[in-house]
Subunit: 273 residues, 2 copies
């Protein structure tokens, strides 16, 4: 998918919501466990109920790998279902991969070609030649971990260097890499005050923002400093939406949670239009 | 596996060689392509021919994921074959995973429980709470990326902080984490002069060292500064061994290459005994 198509979808839907498909068999409705592929069945119903309110879906590969070959089959069915039925959706494999040169190319092939995801999250620790192989794929996006929302996020990302903190070095250096226009960045919503500084370094790139719940309080703070002329934000919510209910009504309840966030987004977009 | 068992195996075999099973269908002997599972068949023959000369095998997951479900099946068959036939071997999934807390636990389950690997490589960028979940698994080892051997390795790992370079911060901070005795570290052989400094910070832990070829020149330099009282090194070679020949004699040629390295290791171990 092109960046232009993503932006058009955002404007059409008045939404920059990404829904995280982090499926846990212990949390999904019990009646689904009787189906042939409970993970896929859960995803399918969530997607069908929310696709007009979200612009992106993001399965985290850990949740699929944890179920072995069956999990990989469910992941494959989920991405195929998205691509066949909702081709306008931006699809992200949250896999946090990264390795040396040619090995990164293999991960890129796995996710961009075989599974046909639009985007993949990548860890920056190994530097330029571990990330550039991903950037060589046309109309595919590499979402580099910059500032993560977890407790230990600042352990290394926050180290002060001669110039500035490590995560800012990641942002700045990555702009010099070949294919850098295909980059996006993961920036956690738990630190909305950082967005102003981040936007000084990467004014034009999309930021994938995990850590915003259904409550929407943080959403405004993130938008205030994070939005750019192309919107430039994808706000992710996983558990707050997909586990809104574990009854027969789970898909409907997920829709209601997604609608709440989309309505907040619509208001925010109206203010900056 | 316990650290004690690993050390005992090293002393028994006079080897601290790890063989990287990075299988590329374009590089393996053509006659294997006619078998039902060429990747597994290749691995099986390499393992059978070298298991008495190596103490560890390390499939890099990128090479398996690149072939989709078939690749995952081959990986599963390979680890099962190792565990069933050569239970003394230390098995490493070179997957470079890492995510926030509970999500890391899922990766740990995938590799430590479902696939029964002894060890997993993990990227440190997300900090303490992204790594500790791996360390909670008994008799399993987490091999943290510290200083990698690729060209861009120093892009971020080499940034100077208020105390010292980022990779040294990773080493030092990780020692304070819960379960840190289950840590090992990836340190590239291309920078043997760094080993002295690294051993000041982590004198007791095992280092997994990629980047040593069949030529053995670097091996001595790495050993000079990297060996400790428990040996403390696992030297990895992938292509130099497994692609020594692509003819019918590939397994025999791989054995010859492995034997060359093992003989060098035997000499080095005799010197320090």
């Amino acid at each position: 998918m092109t960046k232009k198509a993503l932006i058009a979808q955002i404007r059409k839907k008045n939404s920059f919501l990404c829904i995280g498909l982090d499926v846990d068999l212990e949390k999904i409705p019990a009646h689904l466990l009787e189906t042939a592929d409970p993970i896929f069945e859960f995803n399918k119903q969530i997607i069908d109920a929310t696709h007009d309110l979200a612009v992106a879906y993001k399965p985290n590969t850990a949740f699929y790998e944890a179920y072995g070959l069956d999990g990989w089959k469910s992941l494959e069915k989920t991405i195929n279902y998205l691509n066949e039925n909702y081709p306008e959706i931006f699809t992200i494999a949250d896999a946090k991969r990264g390795d040396i040169g040619n090995t990164s190319t293999r991960y890129a092939k796995a996710f961009f070609e075989n599974l046909s995801f639009d985007a993949l999250t990548v860890a920056p620790y190994m530097g330029q030649d571990s990330v550039e192989p991903f950037l060589a794929f046309v109309d595919k996006f590499t979402i580099l971990l910059a500032l993560t929302s977890n407790k230990g996020g600042l352990d290394f990302q926050g180290l002060q260097t001669d110039k500035f903190q490590v995560y800012k070095q990641v942002l700045e250096k990555s702009l010099t890499w070949k294919g850098s226009e295909q980059l996006m960045y993961v920036v956690g919503a738990t630190k909305p005050e950082y967005f102003k500084e981040i936007r000084k370094i990467v004014p034009n790139h999309f930021l994938l923002v995990p850590g915003v719940g259904a409550q929407g309080g943080d959403l405004e703070a993130v938008c205030k400093n994070g939005l750019n002329k192309d919107i430039g934000l994808l706000i992710n919510s996983s558990r707050g939406i997909i586990y809104a209910s574990n009854g027969l009504d789970f898909a409907q309840k997920a829709r209601e949670k997604a609608l709440e966030i989309q309505q907040q987004m619509k208001k925010i977009l109206a203010l900056i239009a």
